[in-house]
């Protein structure tokens, strides 16, 4: 069952997808950031990928574009997962938001923005979620030092 769905997806989405492969049981599709929301919509409507699992980013500081935004989806009908990857540059780390499609995207995109600085166009609520108001910087980027604390409260002597 799983390989048929993967073949079907590869055939139907051949124009939007730059590269497709299967890695440890998951179909991995590499896209351009502009085609991402449209592809996700097709995955949801045509292939029943109804559960949006996760969005995160990987920081490759030596490479350009620097950030790789990674999405995972699960289909409860076909019981398979798919991973979508796209690259965004450091100067404009923006990608379309999935909030109109999935309600769970709100919090997960906020976290990705907090940690990496990826801007999700269409999500108007990108407040800090794991960090706090007044925190400067994006800690999971490779150039943020691990121990650089930004205390909110002055320490006692």
């Amino acid at each position: 069952m799983a390989p048929d769905v993967f073949e079907l997806i590869r055939d139907r989405l051949a124009e939007e997808v730059r590269d497709a492969s299967v890695s440890h049981g998951i179909l991995v599709l590499v896209l351009a950031p502009e085609t991402l929301p449209g592809t996700v919509e097709r995955l949801k409507s045509e292939f029943q990928f109804d559960l949006f699992l996760d969005v995160t980013a990987v920081d490759w500081p030596g490479q350009s574009p620097r950030f790789e935004v990674v999405y995972h989806f699960y289909s409860t009908a076909h019981r398979v997962r798919v991973r979508l990857k796209t690259r965004v540059p450091e100067a404009d780390p923006a990608v379309g938001s999935l909030v109109p499609l999935y309600g769970s995207a709100r919090f997960m995109e906020r976290e990705c923005h907090d940690m990496y600085g990826i801007v999700f166009r269409g999500n108007d609520d990108l407040r800090p979620i794991l960090l706090y108001e007044g925190f400067v910087g994006h800690p999971l980027r490779k150039d943020y030092p691990k121990r650089a604390e930004q205390p909110l409260m002055p320490y006692r002597d």
Partner: protein, 169 residues
């Protein structure tokens, strides 16, 4: 060199001092056996806090069972778990809202020293924000360690002075 020695525990030199010492002992006895903890629970140590409050490691035997979830009504602030920078203002606010006399227990390795979280997010020990009276180590501490900590705190309360009129009053 002639050093001035300042007596730490002046011997009772009059009947009045004898009475205040006895009063301190009585008040200390009453206070140590009726601790109302405010469990400021954040992380994994909460599991051991729940275990130590229920059977078979009962803190009710020591008078420290009834948690009061309002800072005004409690006198022992137990900081259970990691303190992060985001949570630090809340801890300070809760501590300031508690009335005297109050004691603070740093429950667990993270509250004592930051544990093994040495990064941008965690505060390296609760005593950077509020003064701590007793540190209970462990990750998380076994219930017996917590009870030992409570008993040592009770000794501390029994030995300290309990003035009726304080400087603020």
């Amino acid at each position: 060199m002639a050093a001035r020695t300042i007596p730490i525990h002046p011997a009772p030199s009059s009947a009045f001092e004898y009475l205040t010492t006895k009063k301190d002992e009585l008040v200390g006895w009453a206070r140590k056996f009726s601790l109302f903890p405010y469990p400021f629970v954040t992380a994994c140590c909460a599991m051991e806090f729940m275990a130590v409050s229920s059977t078979p490691y009962d803190t009710d035997r020591f008078g420290a069972a009834l948690p009061r979830f309002s800072p005004r009504q409690s006198d022992l602030l137990m900081v259970v778990g990691t303190l992060t920078h985001k949570q630090a203002p809340i801890l300070r606010k809760v501590y300031e809202q508690m009335c005297e006399p109050k004691w603070v227990m740093a429950f667990g390795a993270c509250a004592t020293s930051g544990g093994f979280y040495q990064n941008y997010a965690a505060v390296a020990g609760v005593d950077k924000i509020i003064p701590v009276d007793i540190y209970v180590p462990g990750c998380p501490p076994r219930p017996e360690t917590v009870i030992d900590g409570i008993m040592k705190l009770q000794d501390l309360i029994a030995r300290s002075r309990h003035p009726i009129l304080t400087a603020n009053f």
